[in-house]
Structures are given as C-alpha cells and as structure tokens.
Symmetry: C2
Subunit: 348 residues, 2 copies
DNA sequence: TACGGCAATGTAAGCGCTTACACTATTGGA
DNA sequence: TCCAATAGTGTAAGCGCTTACATTGCCGTA
C-alpha cells in the first residue's frame, strides 16, 4: 500500500546535470544568479527528466507557499463564483495561487477547513463575513496568518474587510419597495444564525419600515437554507399564512427564484399579484421571467480588491486596510406597485 | 519579508507534554498504540497550544497526503458542481480530501494544474474527458499517480473512466427531434477543439441524421465558448443565416439558455416558432421558461462512483475499472413539432 | 526464580527542498 | 603587479514530520 513514487528529485537532477542541488534550486527560483550556460543545461535536464518540485518540501524549506486560502460557504451555487474568479485572476497576476474550500454554511466545517488551510501552509486567508468564534481569530493570529474578510463591511470592526454594507443596501431596496406603496411585506431569508450577511439584510428591511412609520414587528420572516426548492416552499408557506402580502423580499436571488417559480405554480402573476425581490444579482436574476429586481453586488471588484489587499498583507506592505464598496439597486420587472391585479389589492 | 510564524511544532508539543516526538505523532495518527493516560495528556497539550500539524512535513515523511486532486474546466458555471460535490462527499467518507483546480477549458492551463497538483502530493487525479497530450499520461504514469477520467465514456480507451456516452446520448435526443418532424437543424456547440465531449455530441447529431436519411453535411454548426451571452449571439447568427431553422440543438444547457433568451428578444416563440434543446440538465434548465428539453446526466452518481474507484486505485484494490452510466432524455417544453407557428412553418 | 513476550516509549534517520556561508575564479583599478 | 570586489558554484544545516528499530519495564509461565 506504500506508494512507490520514483519521481525524480532535485538531487537526481543535480547529479544528471553535474551540478549541486543548490544550483538546480537556483535555476528554478533565481535564474539570474546562474550562468547562462549552466542554466540552459540544467533546465534541459529538468525537462528531460520530467522533474516537478515537491511542494511540501519547498514550503518547509522556504517557509512560504505563495498560496492564499479562501473558504466560501458554498461552491454549488454561483454567488461567490464570480468574485472568486476575479480573486484568483488577480492573485495569479501577483504570483500567488488560490486554494479554495467550502464550508456548507457550517461553522464547525469552516473551522476545520481553516486548520486545513493553515496546515497546508496558506500564507493568508480570505473568509466570508464577520461572524465566527473569537478563538478562531486568536488562533490565526498566533499562527501568524493574515486574514481578510469579504462580502461584508461594518464600521468599527477589528478585522480588516472588503465588502459592502448589507444592511444599508437592503434598506435602500426596502425603501424603494415601500415607496411604491407596499405595506404588507414578507421575507424569505437565509438562516441568520452564524451568517451576519443574512441577519443584516433582514435588519435593513426593518430599518426601512421604521423610517417609513411601519412597525417592524409586523414583518413576517421565514428562514431557510440556500436552495431554490427551499425558496419555493417558503413562498408557499408565507402566502398561505398571509395571502394579503403584496411583496416578498428574499435574502438572496436563489431563494427569490424559488419564490418566483412557486408563484407561477400557484397561479400568481408577478408583479401584478405579488412582487418579489432578490439580492446579489447573480446571472440567474436576469434570466428568469420576469427579471428579478435585486441588489447588485460588485462581486468582481470585491474579489480583485481582496486579492491585492491580501497580497499586500502577506508582503507586509499593509497590515490590513478595509474598504467599503457600493452595492446598487438593479431594477427589473419583478417589483411593481401593489394592487395592480384585477382581483383587487389587499388594502382596498 | 520573511514570515515569522511561531506556530508550535511537534517538538514543542513533545517538550511541553514531556514525551518524545514519536509519541506525539502516534497520539495523532495511531491513538491506540499509546497508553490512555499519555494520550490524554498529549491531546490536552495539543489543544492548549493550538497545534496544527504541518501538512508539507507530514506529506514528505509519510509519502502520502490522503488528498485527491480534480481538475475541471470551469467552476464558474454549475455543470460540474453537483458531480464534484458528490465526489467530495464520498471522498470525505473514505478519509480523503479534495483539491480542486480549474483549467478554463485551456489545455495549457490544465497541464500546469496537473503539475501543481502532483507537486502538492495528490495521491491520485480526476480529469474530465479523454482528450489531452499523450505526454501528460506518460508523465503521470512516471510519477506513479493514478488517474481516472470522468464525464466521458468511450469503448476501447486505455485510461479508466467513469462516464456516459456523449455521442449516443445526443444521438438519441436528435432522433427524438427528427421524429417530431424537424429537418432543418442548427447547432450551437461548445468549442470542440480539445474537448471530446463537445465533439462527440455534435457527432451524435450527425449520426441521427444519417440514420434518418438526412445529409449530415447540411448541419449548420456554430462553435462558441461556454457562456450564456455566447449562446445568445450564436442563436442570432444562426437564425439570421437561415431563418428556416425549426430547431436549434445546443451542446449544453448554458448555451441553450442563451439561445432561449435571444429567441425571446427576437420575438420568436419557443417551441412554436423554433425549438431549442440543451444538454446536461443543470438546475437552470428547469427554471427557464419554457422548461428546457435536454439530456439528463447523472452527475451525482458519476461523482460518487468516481470517488470510490479512485480511492480503490490509490489503495491498490483496483488498478482502474471503467464504468458506463446512462444519460437519459429530459423532456420539457422547449421542444415541439415544427410548423406549429401561425406564421407558417418552413416546409409549408 | 528466570525468562520469553508484549506493551509503551524513545532514538534517530531520513523525506526533498532552500539558503547562509564558504570557496574559487575572474576582473578591474591603483 | 597586487588586491578588493564580484560572479558563479558548492557545502551543509536545517524545515517539521513519520517510522523502523532499539530500549525499557512489566506480566505470566515454566
């Protein structure tokens, strides 16, 4: 069961090329410290032998990996995909690699993944959102691993972060909703426990209600895991509990798409009978019919900025600067004025 | 610029617990070879110090990583997400980890990623499709790294693979299309160069044409990269070049969704004016309106089987068994009979 | 009582690499 | 002509872990 790898080592290459291991190593890492002639000969040998350096050994000796780890809640859906793509591209252009892990929105899994990435020698870590045990931040500090948070930005937090204000963004969408005349609002949120983004978004809706003289207590909220099916089920539950709802605001586009689909099944027209809004502006939002009114998040910009900042942190150019990006409303057709329906508005 | 990590090492733990490094290592890896009392004391020390083993060092000493690498063409879209998720779950239950990389459908990038994963000590590799330089297989063989291919299955290939017959699957969909009366078929395919799945799918359509007495030469094919926008553009081009097309078969669902959207913009009704089909049956396929008729691929099953087989290969239980899975037609509303339109069919 | 056997632990040799330091030519300036 | 500076290369000490082998102490048995 012992793996019998006989891949060539630095030593093998050195012998074959008739130089010392130091020289081979230099050819690979600091080519201009080596005579052209030697370099050519060594590189040819490297190619001929199909030599690949052993990452573990290299990391151990050099005490760096040029690898940055990122832990996202989910790979299966595309919320983070675009941002991560940009993150990776930027990282690569700076000479770093990306190691991704996903936590399935589970704090215990995230913790495990953090240890795994540290164990693998990640030079720094990108994490999503603020909310996690303090012990984790302590651990990371002790290990000397810089961390940057993304997809969230809150004044006065200790941890450096690149993101936007989820609460304010959702509040501004809710204001728009209320402006249009909606009074009876239902909410389908992701599970807020352990997920500050989700919690902040719901809070943003309540803010808007208060600002407009509505009682936030009246807000009906259903929490459910990130999944189209769940969005559909939640919509059903919400509408059955209160058929007078004129708008259902969803914590993310995926839930909103589920709601949209369910509304169709229930024979409700959107936005005539009921309006639906999302959050994130993933590609799907522009594809469904009607197009989803949502909050546009600057994923790519966030990914790019996070990458440059994190590299700066690793290279001690910065010791962690936060940046707030702006999310904007993306108005499409799924949000309308209440009471457009022939069957009579709820407030007649 | 030198990272001054002072994270505790095995040695530190050993000293603190008053035992040798060997004992600490055993506590971590073979707990039942250690006296209960010692074990408890050591584990407590490990916890207290926040010790995390250094993966590189461990890999080097143990000559195994319990990590399996997978290189997929893209993370951004969800074709592979579901399969990969299942792959990972199964891997985890067998005590292995997954390391993912994406190649952006570029052979050179894939090659680089393969080296990177080998360099990181992957015990085995999962690759998509057959088509790549022989040199890569040779390299992997020399390195002693088992490989399994997925998402494709072809008789008589040397490499073990878990997948389905793309050609036969698409052929069966095309047969259905022709059965319904379609004669003028347009195709939007992914780039076939370096992508055997894409090429096989187009070939499958030609097979069906031959079988039904149509001339495969007449098939109009546009190749374009995997992206909704591109699908839309290709649809536009196809329909402008030949407005008489009654059906556009797409190489995957993403392109099909693009085509669907474009058809709407062009004022063409689906399937009355033109039918559209996809391939893969990603979630999106059931969400768009009309629902996409497509080929259902057993992603999860494929991921699961690939994981068990790959682990068996690493553990020398198997030296590579192939398995063919069945893809099936998923009939929805985007495929209809030609000439349903009031505006007159092409063959009036 | 003596001793084989076993359980628990320790000792130390690497695993494949980087890099500080040492060494040898070579070069150019005084 | 001599010497300092410099370029090119080699030597060897680890980096943090696993594991074969050696050692120790204990038990049960003859």
């Amino acid at each position: 069961m012992q793996q019998e790898r006989n891949s060539p080592t630095l030593d093998d290459v050195a012998k074959a090329a008739g130089v010392s291991t130091a020289t081979v190593s230099r050819c690979l890492n600091l080519p201009d410290r080596v005579a052209k002639k030697t370099l050519d000969r060594v590189m040819k040998t490297v190619d001929d032998m199909g030599y690949t350096p052993n990452f573990g050994a290299r990391a151990m000796a050099a005490r760096r990996t040029f690898t940055i780890g990122a832990i996202i809640p989910t790979m299966e859906n595309s919320i983070f995909a675009r941002g991560l793509q940009a993150f990776q591209e930027e990282l690569r252009s700076r000479g770093y690699n990306l190691l991704v892990a996903s936590s399935s929105y589970r704090p215990d899994v995230e913790k495990e993944q953090i240890r795994a990435l540290v164990s693998r020698g990640a030079d720094a870590l990108l994490l999503i959102g603020y909310e996690r045990e303090q012990a984790i931040y302590d651990y990371l500090e002790r290990q000397g691993v810089p961390v940057l948070l993304a997809w969230a930005f809150l004044e006065g937090q200790v941890q450096p972060s690149i993101g936007f204000n989820n609460r304010a963004a959702m509040c501004s969408l809710a204001n728009r909703v209320i402006e249009l005349g909606h009074r009876r609002i239902g909410v389908i949120s992701a599970i807020t426990k352990g997920n500050d983004r989700a919690a902040e978004r719901v809070a943003g809706i309540r803010d808007a209600m208060s600002q407009n003289g509505l009682n936030p207590e009246n807000l009906k909220v259903i929490e459910t895991p990130y999944d189209i099916q769940n969005g559909a089920a939640a919509f059903d539950e919400l509408m059955k509990a209160d058929p007078g709802l004129t708008v259902v605001m969803c914590g993310n586009d995926v839930l909103a798409v589920g709601a949209l689909r369910k509304s169709k099944e229930m024979g409700l027209r959107v936005p005539e009978d009921v309006s639906i809004t999302g959050f994130d502006d993933i590609e799907l939002a522009s594809i469904v019919t009607p197009g989803l009114t949502t909050v546009h998040v600057p994923h790519r910009e966030m990914g790019r900025k996070a990458a440059t900042e994190l590299v700066d942190m690793v290279e001690k150019i910065s010791n962690g600067r936060s940046a707030e990006l702006q999310a904007s409303l993306q108005i499409r057709d799924s949000l309308g004025v209440p009471g457009m329906s022939d069957t009579g508005g709820p407030d007649r």
